[in-house]
């Protein structure tokens, strides 16, 4: 491990005893983000909770992906700063940054002629560089990542021929093989059926509790966010509406107003209140079919 631990962070000492990984977190300070001068996110500040599952929710186009790209150092803020370990993200050398954080875009393009095993090996580039052969440590990391995602028997399968769910898990395995202490995922449950969605979310939760990984992901499914988030962030129109524990978001009524839905909260023991949406607020004039004659 090459990154030094920032001594100023009090949490560092707490986690270092239980985990060999270096501890770090990303903080965004008053950032404005945008493609070609039109801001998608304006004046937003957010600190990722270290060693926790941070979930971003918000309606389509609210800036979730943009925010995650900025956290991954792929988009330089036009204003404000995005900082990891006291250093602005865009100033990090790419390979050093890749050992500290890994990012998975939403539904990445499928590479030609690559097996799942070969793809997951790409996740070791940050450690191997241009020349170094696969070491025992690399192989172990790859096998571990494949095992975590249930893909050990799929190594030799081509990325083009496997199902959407297996493909998505292969991408997650690639990010895991990178063995970074921060994991950013843009809608990692897209294309997965409900069982596999929960499986991925449980895996991420387990990684944060047992390995102390800092995880940030965006989700569409509000209830999954309520169930799995240690810290929940709600965005709308590039602005931060709420950031904090999910239980408190439920009491604000922001979910219904932001997503323009109506429904009811249902208390599930062990999971707190979940929201059952029953109708949309947007439709002023429902179709005639919906009426009872």
């Amino acid at each position: 491990m090459t990154l030094s631990m920032p001594s100023s962070l009090p949490e560092a000492t707490v986690f270092s005893s239980s985990s060999p990984r270096e501890i770090s977190s990303i903080s965004l300070d008053n950032v404005t983000l945008g493609y070609s001068r039109q801001p998608v996110v304006e004046g937003l500040s957010l600190n990722l909770q270290q060693g926790k599952v941070n979930i971003l929710i918000g309606p389509n186009g609210c800036g979730k992906s943009t925010l995650l790209r900025a956290m991954a150092g792929l988009l330089k803020p036009t204003q404000g700063s995005a900082v990891l370990q006291g250093k602005e993200l865009h100033k990090w050398p790419r390979r050093t940054l890749a050992r500290a954080l890994s990012f998975l875009p939403q539904a990445p393009e499928v590479p030609e002629n690559m097996t799942i095993g070969q793809l997951v090996e790409q996740g070791r580039f940050a450690h191997r560089g241009l020349i170094r052969a696969l070491t025992a440590e690399d192989r172990e990391a790859v096998s571990w990542a494949l095992e975590q995602t249930g893909l050990l028997d799929y190594r030799e399968r081509s990325m083009r021929t496997v199902s959407g769910g297996e493909r998505q898990r292969a991408w997650i395995a690639t990010a895991l093989a990178q063995q970074a202490s921060i994991l950013l995922l843009d809608e990692p449950t897209t294309y997965l059926d409900l069982g596999h969605q929960l499986e991925v979310l449980e895996l991420l939760q387990e990684l944060s509790t047992t390995q102390g990984l800092t995880i940030a992901l965006s989700l569409h499914e509000i209830n999954h966010a309520l169930m799995f988030a240690d810290s929940l962030t709600l965005l709308a129109n590039g602005k931060l509406l709420y950031s904090g524990p999910p239980q408190e978001l439920v009491t604000t009524g922001l979910i219904e107003s932001t997503f323009a839905i109506r429904g009811q909260y249902l208390n599930i023991p062990g999971h707190g209140p979940l929201h059952i949406a029953t109708s949309s607020q947007r439709r002023k004039n429902p179709l005639p079919l919906a009426r009872t004659a």
């Binding site: 790419r94 590479p111 580039f125 571990w144």
Partner: protein, 366 residues
């Protein structure tokens, strides 16, 4: 299987893993490709030896052998040392250049149909060679006295420079959009079309006196290629020997989306630029020396991928190089013998051989 790094990590996911075996069909497929690969490796030296021993001038085998050690008659020595040997070596290098450049360009533009024409390199070289030939002819006074002369042996240099300039222009035009593969491809095709149109216009307008040599060059020929042509090829061959091992992993990552490659730790603009420079240099030098030989750059990477299926991925690039070299030298040999003493240009034979192979590959794996 390797043990998990931490016992606490015994995955929830692992309970859901399914046991699926690789279908037997796939195994027998890689056995066939493995056999074909053996055949290719075995026949490569035979093709090279045949290309030295057979030709338009019928030489005795023993005489050729003597000539190879400088012990033959003067006539045989000359034919072997200054015609066949350099021609075969130039052919080998040109084949390696076209094939490697095709493999590089296909990977970094993420376009399985890419070849040296996709960056406008071939078209740029063609236009430059035409301009060169125009000036070589017309750079005289109207009364026939020479104003100045441009020696014809600089023709490969003109072609090489033209190709490099076109490739660099495409690079600059794509820079603003972060060298995205789509942008590179569109710019390359657009610029290539313009350059091609200009070249055709030149050919129609002033080409009559040199029409024949221009057409011969455009179909890609190894005729009368000698030792001096190696100067244009070898620097790029050496550079690629140095850079290709470094480029192997970056090029593999560049086949992923830019965001993925970047977050896996690759500095995408740097490595894409370097890979483009090597690809364009290999293509431009080869086009400059023999003209735009099509299909080698397009077909060989696919063929090599098929042949290397059962092997370690480290062998892919050497197989690309071997196939390219063998295909060019073999095509040239056929071209020399087919209508002897006339020659069919290597580019035509390469295309005639390459297309059926390509169609078979497309049908089976497209």
């Amino acid at each position: 299987m390797q043990p998990a790094p931490s016992s606490s990590m015994s995955g929830i996911a692992s309970s859901l893993k399914k046991n699926r075996k690789i279908p037997a069909q796939q195994l027998s497929g890689s056995r066939i490709s493995g056999g074909l690969l053996g055949l290719v490796i075995f026949s490569f030296p035979i093709v090279v030896i045949l290309a030295i021993f057979l030709g338009t001038v019928d030489l005795e085998t023993a005489e050729t052998l003597f000539a190879l050690f400088g012990e033959g008659s003067q006539r045989t020595d000359t034919i072997i040392a200054f015609q066949r040997l350099p021609r075969v070596i130039v052919g080998l290098l040109v084949g390696v250049h076209f094939a490697l450049s095709g493999a590089l360009l296909q990977a970094i533009t993420r376009n399985p149909l890419a070849d040296p024409t996709i960056l406008g390199v071939s078209q740029g070289a063609t236009l430059a060679v035409m301009l060169f030939l125009m000036f070589a002819v017309y750079a005289g006074n109207s009364d026939g006295s020479q104003l100045f002369t441009i020696p014809l042996e600089y023709l490969p240099l003109a072609g090489c420079l033209g190709g490099l300039i076109a490739g660099f222009a495409v690079y600059l035009l794509s820079w603003q959009s972060g060298l995205s593969p789509l942008r590179l491809t569109l710019m390359g095709i657009a610029l290539g079309a313009v350059l091609h149109a200009l070249a055709m216009g030149l050919l129609a307008g002033w080409g009559s006196t040199r029409m024949e040599s221009i057409l011969l060059w455009m179909s890609g020929s190894l005729y009368a290629r000698g030792w001096d042509h190696l100067i244009y090829l070898l620097p790029w061959t050496v550079a690629s020997l140095f850079f290709l091992p470094l480029l192997r992993r970056p090029v593999r990552l560049l086949q992923l989306e830019d965001d993925c490659a970047t977050s896996f730790g690759l500095s995408v603009p740097l490595w894409r630029s370097l890979a483009l420079a090597v690809g364009a240099g290999l293509a431009a030098s080869a086009v400059g020396v023999v003209g735009p030989v099509g299909f080698i750059g397009l077909v060989v990477p696919h063929l090599a991928r098929y042949l290397s299926r059962g092997t370690n991925q480290h062998f892919y690039i050497p197989i690309v190089a071997l196939l390219g070299a063998g295909l060019v030298v073999g095509s040239d040999l056929i071209g020399r013998l087919l209508l002897s003493p006339n020659e069919v240009p290597v580019g035509i034979i390469a295309a005639l051989l390459g297309v059926p192979v390509f169609l078979v590959l497309l049908r089976r794996y497209g």
